[in-house]
């Protein structure tokens, strides 16, 4: 379709605008018809035939045009909602909103809030992060490699003795988090990465 054709043929928005404009014009005409017998003074003492015709036609036309306007508005809103342009606003009394929110929470109870998970993780790791290097716990976490098979991960010892005299042995395969200050740095970088990921997800949802 070339440019001339696309300008002549109304688009999805033009369709609704055309309908609304035509209905609005009809509503104005209806108002005019109702007012003219009195405005132009051809309504004498008795009911003139033209007055009755204009009032009846104007009233009927107003009803038709109001219905059409409402229908076009609803149809356009529905399309905008479907396209994600309009979002449903929270309405109603506060109690009903709270009840709705509670019901939504119950529905999505299986999904953990990532922010809550991060906070809980911080609370759990707080003693590790605050402890000095020499008092670091003797247990280090095991991070399976990205492509490590489950049996490989099972072979790796999960508990490593933190012996300061002997350097930690890094087994081939899954990556083992070192104990001590290096491990703390790794945990901190993991937390920072998780926060970055959350921020990225939020921005993506906002788009």
């Amino acid at each position: 379709m070339n440019g001339a054709e696309s300008s002549a043929c109304p688009g999805p928005t033009g369709r609704y605008v055309a309908g609304l404009c035509a209905a609005g014009l009809g509503l104005c005409a209806a108002g005019w018809l109702v007012l003219t017998p009195f405005a132009f003074g051809y309504q004498g003492r008795g009911w003139h035939a033209a007055t009755l015709t204009d009032l009846a036609t104007g009233g009927g036309l107003a009803v038709i045009c109001v219905t059409t306007l409402i229908a076009w508005t609803l149809a356009w809103r529905r399309v905008l909602r479907a396209d994600g342009v309009l979002t449903r606003a929270e309405r109603g009394p506060a109690r009903a909103r709270r009840r709705r929110g509670r019901a939504e929470e119950e529905q999505g109870g299986g999904q953990a809030d990532p922010e809550q998970v991060l906070t809980a993780l911080r609370a759990l790791l707080a003693p590790v992060l605050d402890a000095p290097a020499e008092h670091a716990p003797a247990v280090a976490a095991v991070i399976p490699g990205p492509r490590s098979a489950p049996e490989e991960a099972a072979q790796v010892p999960r508990v490593m003795p933190a012996d300061p005299a002997r350097p930690p042995v890094m087994p081939a395969g899954p990556q083992v988090m070192p104990a001590g200050p290096e491990g703390i740095a790794v945990i901190e970088s993991m937390l920072a990465g998780a926060e970055l990921l959350m921020t990225g997800c939020d921005e993506e949802e906002a788009w």
Partner: protein, 86 residues
């Protein structure tokens, strides 16, 4: 359903306008052959405007709907025969 009501409303404006044009002669407040009275002139003018608006609005909305239907149909792939022998 809402779309049908909307299109029907625009279509109903067409007979309403036609009625306004015909009303002076049907109700006989405009005698045939007599000079045009104010109400008759006004009704005919408003009726013409309403009928034109209804007609134009209906076909503009219908054209938009047809365009949406054409845009939503599946595009034939290059491997499908077009049916036109060159």
């Amino acid at each position: 359903m809402v779309n049908k009501i909307a299109l029907g409303g625009l279509l109903a404006m067409l007979p309403a306008g036609a009625w306004l044009i015909a009303a002076p002669f049907v109700v006989r407040y405009q005698p045939a052959g007599a000079p045009w009275t104010g109400p008759a002139r006004l009704d005919v003018a408003v009726g013409a405007i309403v009928a034109t608006a209804g007609f134009a609005g209906f076909f503009a909305a219908l054209a938009g709907r047809v365009r949406e239907l054409y845009a939503g149909r599946p595009q034939p792939g290059p491997e499908l025969p077009s049916g036109i022998e060159s």
